[in-house]
C-alpha cells in the first residue's frame, strides 16, 4: 500500500491548491486579473481527479493482515519532510510532515476536492466582476490546501496546524467583503469563537503527548488500545483527552455552545458559505472525531457527551430554523442541525455508528452544497435579496434552480430513498441500537426520540423555505431589476451535477452500505464495524419526513393564514425562536461585555500605570538635571574650585575624621 505510486505522490493533493494560491496571490492583481480563477480551477479539478484515483487504489488494496490491527487495516504513509525532531530515546519528540492514506482519508478527500471543484467552477460565474476576484480564488485555493492537508495529516501536531489554517482561511473568506462592517464583524466572530474551541484542542494534543509520549496517530492508537483497552471503567485521562479534542470539534463544527459563528458566516460570498458548510470547514470536526474513534471508543462517557451535545444542537438549531426569514440563515441553521446529527451518530459508541456519521457527512456535503449554490443562484437573480418574505413563486422564472433546489431540500428532509434518508436512517438506527446496551442506554433513548423530532422539524423548515421561495404567487423585489432570470451555465451545471449526486449517491452507498462499512473498516479503529439496519426506524423516519413536508405544504405551499395565527397564538415561543434563543445577547451580556470591561481596564492600566512608570523613569534624570545639576554648571572657575574643596573636605572627614572618632 505504502509503495503505491499514488500514495508516494499523495502530497500533490494539497500541493496543487497551495501552488494555485501562491500563483494567484503573486500574479492575480497585475497579470491574471479576470483570468485569476484558472490556477484554482486547474488545481481543484486536478486534486479531485487524483483523489478519485486514490480512492480506487485504496478500495482495491489488500488489507494488511497485521497482528496489531485486528481487522486488517488499509493504510499507507508518506513522509514529505522531517519537520521537527528533538531529543533522543524515550522523550524523543518528532513531528514529520507525514501524509497518511486510508479509507477514511480517501473518502474525505474525494468529498472535499470534488465538491470543492464544483463550487470553484460555480464561483467563476458568481464572483464575476468582483473587485477582489483574484483575492477570492487565492483564499479558496488556500482553503482547499488547508482542508486536504487536515484530512491527510498523520500526527496530532500536523492536524492542529492545518486545523488553524482552516480557521484562518475561513476568516479571510467570511470577511471577504471587508468594507461591510457586518462582514468584518462576522469574520472576527468566527475566528474568535473558533479560537475558544481550538484552545481545548491544543490542550487535548498536549494531554496526548503527556499520556502517550508520541503524537503519531498509529502509535497513539496502539498504545491507547494496549493500555486502556481492557478496562471496564474508562480511565479518566482518556475521557479528558477525548473531551478536550471534542472541544475543538465543537468550535469548528459549530456545536452548542459555540454554534453562534456559523449563521453569521453567511456574510461571506455564497460560494464560500457552500464551501464552509458543505465540503470543508464544518466537516473538519466530524472528521476529527471519526479519525480519533479508537480513543473515543475507550470512553463511554465521552461518546455519550458527544451524542448529547449533538442532539441538543440539532434540536436547538432546528427550532431556530423554523422561524428565520433569511434563506441562507435557514440553510446555516440546518447545517448546524445536521452536524448535530453527525455527532449523535459518532457518539453512539459503536464502530458502525461512526461509519453512519461519516456516511451522513458525505451525503450532506452534496445536498448542502447544492442548497447553498441554489440559494446563491436565487440571490444572484434577485439582486442580492435573500429574504423569503420578499420573494416567491420563482419556479417559472428559474426552473433549473427550482428543481435542483427541490432535490437538495428533499434529500436534506430525508425524503424516502434520497441520499439524506439513507444516511440519517443509518444514524437513527445506530442510536436505536445504542438504547439496548451500555451504561447510558437511558440517555440514548431520550436522544433517539429527540432525533426523530428533529428529523420532522428538518423536513418542515426545509420545505417551508422551498415553498416560500419557489411556490405561491410570484414576488420579485425591486432590486432584482432585469436580473430576474435563470443564472448562467457555469452556475447551473454544478447545480445539476450536485442534484444528481444528491439524489443518487445515498442510494448507491446505502445499497452498498455493507460495502461502505467494509471499506471504512480499513481505517484505524473502524475495523470490524458492522452495519446496523432497523426497518422500524426506517419506516418511522420516512413517515416523519413525509409528515413534515406535508405540514409545510399545508402551511406554505398554498394560501393559508395558519402560519400567522400560529405565530400570534404562540407569540413568546415564536419570538424566542426568531431571536435565535437570544444566544448572541446572552453571550454579549455575560461574556463579551465583561471581557471588554477587562480589556478597557487593562488599557487604562497600561496607559496610566505601565506607561506612567516608564515615563517617570525617563523623566527622573531630566528632572534631577534641571533642578540640581544645571545650576551648578555656571562657568565660574572659583565655584568649581569651591566644589572640589568641599568634596575634598567630605572625603577627608570620611577617611580620617570618622575612624579617628571611632565610628
Amino acid at each position: 500500500m505504502s509503495d503505491s505510486m499514488l500514495v508516494q505522490n499523495v502530497w500533490l493533493i494539497p500541493a496543487l491548491p497551495l501552488a494555485a494560491a501562491a500563483i494567484t496571490a503573486a500574479l492575480g492583481p497585475k497579470v491574471l486579473r479576470e483570468r485569476s480563477h484558472w490556477p484554482c480551477v486547474i488545481a481543484a479539478v486536478g486534486a479531485a481527479l487524483f483523489s478519485i484515483l486514490l480512492l480506487a487504489v485504496v478500495a482495491t488494496a489488500e488489507p494488511v493482515a497485521d497482528a496489531k490491527s485486528a481487522g486488517g487495516e488499509v493504510s499507507g504513509t508518506k513522509v514529505v519532510y522531517d519537520w521537527i525532531s528533538v531529543g533522543a530515546g524515550a522523550g524523543k519528540f518528532t513531528a514529520p510532515i507525514e501524509f497518511r492514506v486510508d479509507p477514511l482519508t480517501s473518502l474525505m478527500l474525494v468529498m472535499v476536492t470534488f465538491v470543492g471543484s464544483l463550487i470553484v467552477v460555480y464561483s467563476t460565474g458568481y464572483m464575476h466582476g468582483d473587485r477582489g476576484y483574484w483575492r477570492f480564488f487565492a483564499a479558496v485555493s488556500l482553503f482547499l490546501f488547508s482542508m486536504t492537508g487536515l484530512v491527510l495529516a498523520s500526527n496530532f501536531l500536523l492536524i492542529y496546524v492545518f486545523w488553524e489554517l482552516v480557521g484562518l482561511c475561513s476568516y479571510l473568506l467570511i470577511g471577504f467583503w471587508y468594507e461591510r462592517p457586518s462582514a468584518a464583524a462576522a469574520s472576527k466572530k468566527a475566528f474568535l469563537v473558533n479560537r475558544i474551541g481550538d484552545f481545548g484542542f491544543a490542550l487535548g494534543v498536549f494531554m496526548v503527548w503527556v499520556v502517550f509520549g508520541t503524537l503519531d496517530f498509529d502509535a497513539v492508537f496502539d498504545k491507547a488500545t494496549v493500555r486502556f483497552g481492557g478496562m471496564s471503567v474508562a480511565a479518566p485521562e482518556i475521557t479528558l483527552i477525548c473531551l478536550l479534542l471534542f472541544c475543538g470539534a465543537i468550535g469548528k463544527s459549530a456545536q452548542f455552545p459555540l454554534h453562534v459563528w456559523l449563521p453569521d458566516a453567511m456574510e461571506g460570498p455564497t460560494p464560500v458559505s457552500a464551501l464552509i458548510h458543505a465540503a470543508t470547514m464544518v466537516t473538519a470536526g466530524v472528521y476529527m472525531v471519526a479519525r480519533f474513534t479508537p480513543l473515543f471508543l475507550l470512553s463511554p462517557l465521552a461518546t455519550m457527551t458527544v451524542s448529547t451535545i449533538g442532539c441538543f444542537t440539532a434540536l436547538l438549531a432546528a427550532l431556530i430554523a423554523l422561524t428565520q426569514t433569511d434563506l441562507k440563515r435557514i440553510l446555516a441553521y440546518s447545517t448546524v442541525s445536521q452536524l448535530g446529527f453527525m455527532f449523535m451518530g459518532l457518539g453512539c459508541g459503536a464502530r458502525g455508528a461512526v461509519v453512519a456519521g461519516i456516511f451522513h457527512v458525505f451525503t450532506h456535503a452534496f445536498f448542502k452544497a447544492l442548497l447553498f449554490l441554489g440559494a446563491g443562484s436565487v440571490m444572484h437573480a434577485m439582486g442580492g435579496v435573500i429574504d423569503v418574505r420578499r420573494i416567491g413563486g420563482l419556479r417559472r422564472r428559474m426552473p433549473i434552480t427550482c428543481w435542483t433546489f427541490a432535490c437538495g431540500a428533499a434529500a436534506l428532509a430525508g425524503f424516502p430513498f434520497l441520499s439524506g434518508f439513507w444516511s440519517k436512517d443509518a444514524i437513527l438506527a445506530s442510536l436505536a441500537h445504542a438504547t439496548h446496551e451500555g451504561t447510558y442506554a437511558v440517555v440514548y433513548r431520550a436522544i433517539l426520540s429527540l432525533a426523530m423530532l428533529t428529523a420532522g422539524l428538518t423536513a418542515f423548515y426545509t420545505f417551508r423555505a422551498f415553498f416560500k421561495v419557489f411556490w405561491g404567487e410570484e414576488r420579485i423585489p425591486d432590486e432584482a431589476g432585469h436580473h430576474a432570470h435563470e443564472s448562467p451555465a457555469t452556475m447551473t451545471y454544478p447545480l445539476i451535477v450536485l442534484a444528481i449526486f444528491s439524489l443518487g449517491i445515498g442510494a448507491i452507498l446505502a445499497l452498498g452500505f455493507d460495502g461502505l462499512t467494509e471499506f471504512l473498516g480499513g481505517a484505524p479503529g473502524l475495523a470490524g464495524a458492522h452495519e446496523v439496519h432497523s426497518v422500524p426506524v426506517m419506516i418511522t423516519s420516512g413517515a416523519v419526513a413525509i409528515v413534515g413536508i406535508a405540514v409545510a405544504w399545508l402551511m406554505y405551499g398554498q394560501p393559508s393564514t395558519l402560519p400567522e395565527s400560529l405565530a400570534q397564538k404562540f407569540r413568546s415561543a415564536y419570538e424566542l425562536s426568531f431571536d435565535k434563543f437570544r444566544f448572541d445577547e446572552i453571550y454579549s451580556r455575560f461574556i463579551v461585555k465583561p471581557l471588554l470591561a477587562v480589556a478597557e481596564a487593562s488599557r487604562l492600566a497600561d496607559i496610566w500605570i505601565v506607561d506612567g512608570l516608564v515615563r517617570l523613569v525617563s523623566a527622573l534624570p531630566a528632572f534631577i538635571g534641571r533642578i540640581a545639576l544645571r545650576p551648578i554648571q555656571n562657568g565660574l572657575v572659583q565655584f568649581y574650585a569651591l566644589t572640589m574643596v568641599c568634596c575634598l573636605v567630605v572625603l577627608l572627614v570620611l577617611l580620617i575624621g570618622l575612624p579617628w572618632l571611632g565610628m
Partner: protein, 143 residues
C-alpha cells in the same frame, strides 16, 4: 619635629586654597595656586628627611620644574585674556556655563528698596449716614 614641618605645609596649603577661592585677580589666584604647591612640596621634603631617602626630594624637583613650565603657560594665558577684556577679573569669563543659566554678577548693586507710598489717614466720605446698630435704633426711638 615632623609635626612642625607638616603644620607649616598645611598652613601654606590652606592659605593658598583660601586665596584661590576668594581673590578674583587672575595673577593673584595663580600665585595662590603656586603657594598650595609649595605647601605640598614642603610636606614631601619633610618626609624625605624623616625617612632618610630621596624620594620626596625628587618629587619636589619635579613639582618645581612643572610649576615653572606651568607658570610660563599660565602667565601667557593671563596676558591673552587681559588683551581680550582689558581686565584681570576672573568673573568676566563665565562663557562655559549652561546656556540657560544667568551670569553671576557679584559687583551689581543690590536692588534699591523703593519706599512704599506714605499711608495717609483716610476719612469716611462726608454726607453719608453711617449704618446704625439695632440697639442704637432702639435707643433713639425711646428718647
Amino acid at each position: 619635629m615632623l609635626a612642625n614641618y607638616l603644620i607649616v605645609g598645611a598652613i601654606l596649603f590652606v592659605l593658598g586654597a583660601v586665596g584661590f577661592l576668594t581673590r578674583r585677580n587672575m595673577i593673584v589666584m595663580f600665585l595662590s595656586a603656586e603657594m598650595m604647591l609649595q605647601g605640598v612640596s614642603l610636606n614631601l621634603v619633610a618626609f624625605s628627611n624623616v625617612w632618610s631617602n630621596w624620594h620626596g626630594q625628587i618629587f619636589t624637583i619635579y613639582i618645581l620644574t612643572i610649576a615653572a613650565a606651568e607658570a610660563a603657560i599660565a602667565l601667557a594665558l593671563v596676558v591673552k585674556l587681559y588683551h581680550r577684556r582689558g581686565s584681570l577679573d576672573v568673573s568676566l569669563w563665565q562663557d562655559l556655563r549652561e546656556p540657560d543659566q544667568p551670569a553671576i554678577d557679584d559687583d551689581a548693586e543690590p536692588a534699591a528698596s523703593v519706599p512704599a507710598p506714605p499711608a495717609w489717614p483716610t476719612l469716611t466720605p462726608a454726607g453719608v449716614e453711617p449704618r446704625h446698630t439695632d440697639e442704637e435704633i432702639e435707643e433713639a426711638t425711646h428718647v
